[in-house]
Amino acid sequence: MINTDKKKRVMEKAIKNRARKEKSVEIVLLICALVSVISVLFISVFIFGEGLPLFKAVSVGDFLFGTDWAPSNEENPRYGILPFIVGSIYITLGALLLAVPIGIMTAVFMAEIADKRAVEVMRSVVQLLAGIPSVIYGFFGVIVISKLIRETFGGTGYSVLSGAIILAIMVLPTIINITEVTITSLPKSIKEGSLALGGTRWQTIFKVQLPAAKSGIIAGVVLAMGRALGETMAVLMVAGNAPIMPTGPLSKVRTLTMNIVTDMGYASGDHRTALFTTSIVLFLFILILNLSVNIIKGNPEEIA
């Protein structure tokens, strides 16, 4: 009797111990899982905390819509970042204009036309394109694309167009990946229905499948837009980095990211704060884009 009691107690203790251990493990794992969330919160808090005080010195309107960036002017420093916002938008839209058609076509090719081996080749191509570091894209841009632009159109070659071409190559993988996944995950019945009604392959792809995959494709394009807006090194190296309002595709340009990198090394006081404020604008742009991806895609679990 005593013996069984003792055994029971020992076992209960072991169970309790184990339960306690399990609980503590769970807590540790939860903390790991929360690191990302906490990081995002911290990043937001710190970026806003460092950047917002600028508005004590400069009005929001002057900052966002001012066209004059002269932070080193001691008597009357001006912090207008409109040229950089416009520059970012120009380069991003230019990149998408080039990358979206090629990206979608390549994705359709992979989903509908290519045989298994071709798909495998294209998969590794896309994976490699995505894996090449941005500083290498920038270097390639300096050596090849700027030179090409310089020789074709004249000027320095460091321009909106050069930046857009490099960014187009860089966002291709994003567009291709998402479009391909969306097209392949469309229900077979959509394609079969069209073919059964006598639709040709061309018609089926362009009039049925692509429209059906619209939301996925748009999500991919928006995601690519986010990538392009946030890209720093490659555009920094090829786009000229002049703090002026871009006037055309051959004009030198500075984007929001370039503005942060260029001045961060030496800026102090309001100037430094203004760089963090610039990053707030960039951060908000990206957040809005990412949130809209989530909204467009809906719940990702549903598609898969």
Partner: protein
């Protein structure tokens, strides 16, 4: 039906036949049209894919090609013509330059040789990008101004022995004693000493034209007498007056060799002179005059020289580039310490991010109940993945460098990178863990193992290849990252000594090389190393994914 209604003619047998025919034809054209559209579509899609492929191949091929092979057009005062036995202006007899075999030197020009002897770069770096001290040796009978560090010996054998044994040593010996250095392990270096002397009239500017340089082919044509006017090679309208060096002189022999002709084939248009002083005077005085001349002689006589343009090709990245320490902002030496810094960075980043990433993935797949918390965590991870690297850089700069006072250095940089690559590891680990069949867990639990035991001993080992893939992909991303490191990791190219020292890695080094315009050859070599790492990462990650249940 509509066709029948639209037909005006009465319906007869013939018209029905015609109708059928016309319908047939319409169907045919429609068929052909749709077939054409299909072909067009296929071609469009194929070319899009081909373009994507071509872009990748071009970028990688171009950089790797240039990484392994340097190919540059250079312009110098000197003609790329050198001989083993060469005249030095400050010596009365011909000399030979001998160099220690560890010094990477294929040729040297007169200016560089003179300054080396004066001890004024005291390092080989300026001349051949090698970080070595220069130790010059000369004979006691040698004439000229030598630096304080130049060591004077009294016989050729002791110079040869010293040059053989001392890394970075070189010596100048009389050409007459060439046989005395036989048997010593050292390199004999040809010296470039000649340039292209021209009369001042050649360099005048007329009609926006000015003679700027000559390349090897132009020079050959001129020396053979095939070109008679400067206009033909981009200069002004002025007849070329070719002056032939005094017969038997060093310049004379070089002339014949550069032109690729024998003595009998010397052009008749050339003006021959008897002695060196007259030769120089002729080139200077005659309109459109040109002649091959020692650069030092040209300088001494205030003679104008034309730049000589030539193409220099050779291997670019070589073993020494990987194993030598960089010096002078990467102008000299290799990238060894930078590679080591990169390895440290990758190891630390993996060390920090893998446990957290796997922990998060385990929590999300094994513990969390679907609900608001999981949604928030997912959203957080996704948002983190979308934040641009420059913002990570700023964050690391304020938090790790400033607030936590870690300074710009290895630790700040790797912590920043850890946050950046965390989403990749979480996402891939999650998928890998999800792919482990339920039966694994059920079996383990049925055997009496606890939940954590099951995860730790069964689930994670089973998911290891997938997790490893994620880690490798994350490493690929970390290796190439630049923007986040600019303000967190710094640019010191020496090997890091502790966690707080600023450290330059391959990506930031490449950026610096391009930004400062230090050397495109070196930039290509560095980019090639980076690309090789990225390729290796890709191969590894695809090799690992094969495991399926």
């Amino acid at each position: 039906m509509s066709i029948l209604l639209n037909t005006q003619t009465p319906v007869t047998d013939i018209s029905i036949e015609a109708l059928v025919n016309s319908e047939q034809r319409k169907a045919d054209t429609h068929y052909r049209k749709s077939k054409r559209a299909n072909t067009l579509a296929t071609i469009t899609l194929w070319s899009a894919a081909a373009l994507t492929l071509a872009i990748l191949v071009y970028i990688l091929g171009f950089i790797i090609y240039k990484g392994f092979r340097s190919d540059n057009i250079l312009e110098t005062d000197y003609i790329n013509y050198g001989t083993i036995e060469s005249p030095l202006p400050w010596q009365s007899d011909d000399t030979i330059m001998i160099v220690n075999s560890d010094v990477r030197l294929k040729e040297i020009n007169g200016d560089n040789l003179e300054s080396l002897l004066k001890g004024k770069p005291s390092n080989w770096g300026n001349i051949n990008e090698q970080d070595l001290d220069v130790i010059p040796y000369v004979l006691d009978t040698a004439e000229g101004n030598f630096g304080k560090k130049t060591i004077i010996k009294n016989d050729v054998e002791s110079i040869a022995a010293a040059v053989e044994n001392q890394v970075g040593a070189f010596g100048i010996i009389p050409a007459a004693d060439a046989d005395k250095i036989d048997g010593y392990k050292l390199n004999v270096i040809p010296v470039w000493s000649l340039g292209i002397g021209v009369s001042p009239t050649v360099l005048e500017i007329k009609d926006n034209k000015k003679m700027r340089f000559i390349d090897g082919d132009m020079l050959k044509d001129i020396l053979r007498g095939n070109i008679s006017n400067w206009q033909e090679i981009g200069g002004i309208d002025l007849p070329i007056t070719l002056v032939i060096p005094p017969a038997g002189s060093y310049e004379y022999n070089a002339y014949l060799e550069l032109a690729g002709i024998s003595e009998d084939e010397l052009p008749d248009t050339g003006i021959s002179t008897g002695n060196p002083a007259e030769y120089i005077e002729q080139i200077n005085k005659l309109d459109g005059g040109i002649g091959i001349i020692q650069i030092t002689a040209a300088e001494a006589n205030d003679m104008k020289t034309l730049k000589y343009q030539y193409r220099k090709t050779g291997r670019n990245i070589q073993m020494w580039f990987l194993f030598e320490e960089p010096k002078r902002a990467g102008r000299v030496g290799g990238v060894s310490s930078i590679i080591i810094n990169t390895i440290y960075m990758v190891l630390l980043t993996v060390l920090f991010s893998t446990p957290i990433g796997i922990g998060a993935a385990v929590y999300l797949t094994e513990y969390a109940k679907q609900g608001r918390l999981v949604k928030i965590i997912r959203l957080g991870t996704e948002t983190l993945a979308g934040i641009p690297s420059i913002i990570f850089g700023l964050f690391g700069f304020i938090v790790f460098v400033d607030y936590m006072n870690l300074g710009i250095g290895l630790l700040s940089g790797t912590l920043t990178l850890t946050l950046m690559i965390l989403p990749t590891i979480v996402r891939t680990s999650e998928e890998a863990i999800k792919a482990v069949p339920r039966s694994f867990r059920a079996g383990s639990l049925a055997l009496g193992a606890g939940k954590w035991q099951t995860i730790y001993k069964v689930v994670i080992p089973a998911a290891a290849p997938g997790i490893l893939t994620g880690v490798i992909l994350a490493v690929g991303r970390a290796v190439g990252e630049t923007a986040a490191l600019l303000f967190t990791m710094g640019f010191d190219y020496r090997r890091v000594e502790n966690l707080n020292t600023s450290a330059r890695v391959l990506s930031t080094h490449l950026y610096q090389l391009v930004k400062e315009g230090i050397s495109f050859d070196r930039a290509f070599a560095t980019a090639t190393i980076l690309i090789v790492i990225v390729l290796a990462v890709n191969v590894l990650s695809t090799k690992l994914v094969v495991r399926k249940y």
